[in-house]
Symmetry: C2
Subunit: 337 residues, 2 copies
């Protein structure tokens, strides 16, 4: 299946195909010079499979984990790219999850003021969402994605087979972002989560196609793209507050969505899906402490946030809320009838 992201200056394809990684020459020129950037959480079989099909591809590996989406790792990868003598005609391939895509993408965006970038996501989260959109970044001074660029990939290659080496918790966490897409935009996608068995390939394709449409309408995130933050306002705060548990990002987004589903019937429906995915229940928390994390996360941008609220599955609205209103919402249990 091939989708096309149509942007003003740089349209690009998204290929979604089980076993695509076994014949990459159908999707990119195997005779260009590449650097493959990956992390040590990606099984060697996928790295070797990719590298073996390219005539000139060096592999740069960094330790996995959000802590490595740092300037120090950026410097290390950049120095290795420089020592590989990549030119403006060569390209960088990201092979991994969101951290790899974000970091390798930022290296590609800034090496020689920008060279070609291919993204081959190998986690659910990156396959259903983050690999498309061109947002690349690293973290600094405790702020996520505070330093980065917009740098669209030349192509995105999604092979659901690469998910076979993930554990179930990673898969479920990533699927929450697809569920999020369904809740804000597409009730049919929500229904896919209620079928037996789960049709992973269809969920991925439907979700990334929604992401594609949003990115086309709002490349630089000035407006509509904000709805993708559904579940993230409080979700990010939970992720930060409980980072030593740790919860997975998607688990926190799942918890965070429940606060912005005012209809009890829909909330119960979403809760059933989250339980099926074995997303943990929201832990006991201090509303004031979580509110402080929400404020920190917004980087001091004014005294309100744009909360995303879903009244009916498949539609959403943006509602500006003060931090006091957020605290009021936090004071209610997300499971309140």
């Amino acid at each position: 299946m091939k989708l096309t992201v149509k942007l003003q200056d740089h349209s690009y394809p998204i290929f979604i195909e089980r076993h695509a990684l076994e014949h990459v020459a159908d999707f990119l020129d195997p005779h260009r010079k590449y650097v493959i950037v990956t992390d040590d959480g990606v099984p060697a079989r996928w790295v070797d499979l990719l590298q073996s099909q390219l005539s000139d591809a060096r592999v740069i590996t960094f330790p996995c984990g959000e802590a490595n989406k740092s300037l120090a790792t950026y410097e290390s990868v950049m120095e290795q790219v420089i020592s590989s003598h990549l030119t403006r005609k060569d390209a960088i391939i990201a092979l991994g999850g969101g951290v790899v895509g974000d970091l390798a993408g930022f290296v590609a965006a800034t090496y020689m003021r920008g060279i070609d970038f291919y993204n081959i996501p190998t986690t659910v989260l990156s396959q259903v969402d983050s690999s498309v959109g061109g947002k690349v970044a690293i973290d600094m001074a405790g702020y996520k994605n505070i330093v980065g660029a917009f740098h669209q990939p030349k192509a995105v290659l999604i092979d659901p087979e690469t998910l076979s080496t993930l554990d179930q918790r990673q898969v479920s966490s990533g699927l929450v972002e697809a569920l999020k897409m369904g809740l804000i935009l597409d009730e049919r996608l929500v229904e896919l989560f209620e079928q037996e068995p789960l049709d992973l390939d269809t969920i991925i394709a439907r979700s990334i196609d929604l992401k594609r449409a949003i990115v086309e309408n709002d490349e630089k995130e000035n407006g509509q793209r904000a709805i993708l933050n559904f579940g993230h306002t409080i979700g990010h705060a939970i992720e930060s507050a409980y980072h030593d548990v740790p919860y997975y990002h998607g688990e926190c987004v799942g918890m965070g969505m429940l606060f912005f589903l005012p209809d009890p019937t829909l909330r119960a429906r979403v809760q059933r899906i989250l339980e099926r995915l074995r997303i943990p229940a929201t832990p006991a928390y201090d509303p004031k402490a979580l509110r402080a994390f929400v404020e920190h996360d917004k980087k001091g941008q004014g005294d309100s946030v744009r909360a995303i609220v879903v009244d009916h599955a498949g539609t959403c609205r943006i509602e500006p809320m003060t931090y006091d209103q957020i605290e009021t919402i936090l004071e209610r249990s997300p499971y309140e009838k």
Copy 2:
């Protein structure tokens, strides 16, 4: 005087006016929140003059010199920008020479994936050339400008009065870049260098207007912009080889131009201008050693360079040359009749 750089998505003005820095409210909104990035080579009188006219502007100062166009300085400035809680609606102002513009511009290009950037150049080189064009960068692993972005300023404010605190050698070095502009594009500008006394304001305006036209035609440096490298191929090599003298950048460009002026009459004319500007004569050098610096500078991009050759003042041509041909040129003295 106001020029406009017309680009597809982001046109911006260049204001050229003696004493403009005394009334900046005519050029930018004094009530926005700003961070002013400068270095300790910029006299406090200019920094204070600017800051005193803005209602909310923090100053970040780093040590002057090309050595500080580094990732370490980038990190330090970025951390201070983060701690200032700049939002996407705020802006960064560069006040200084090319190093300040490049570094502050790269911070602006990557903070929150890009915020507004104003450039107030205070050296001749940045006033006649580097402040317009949107090329921002830092150095890494011994390569100049290897890491960077294209990020056009919102406006450029050129006040020739700020040059009054420079010493004559700095002024002359910067003027070589304006002379370069004349040689490749505009004989009238070359003639301005033969008048008594030098009309600095006219030279600056004429030179930056030529740069504006080139940038408009070739925003991302795919083609025509390459002619701006006239004098730089060998000039950069001299700058690197003799970095412990040290020569100024413009001095090296002046030396480097002489190698690519095949007409002896024109070469003698340019030599007279360089002598008037007190640009030092090219030192004795080892052709093979300089050739190695040329190759290093090109970052391993193929086995030839695009040399810029000026046959007649005001016109130029691009001539691909192998490194062997460069070495042959180096084996002749630049002062050969």
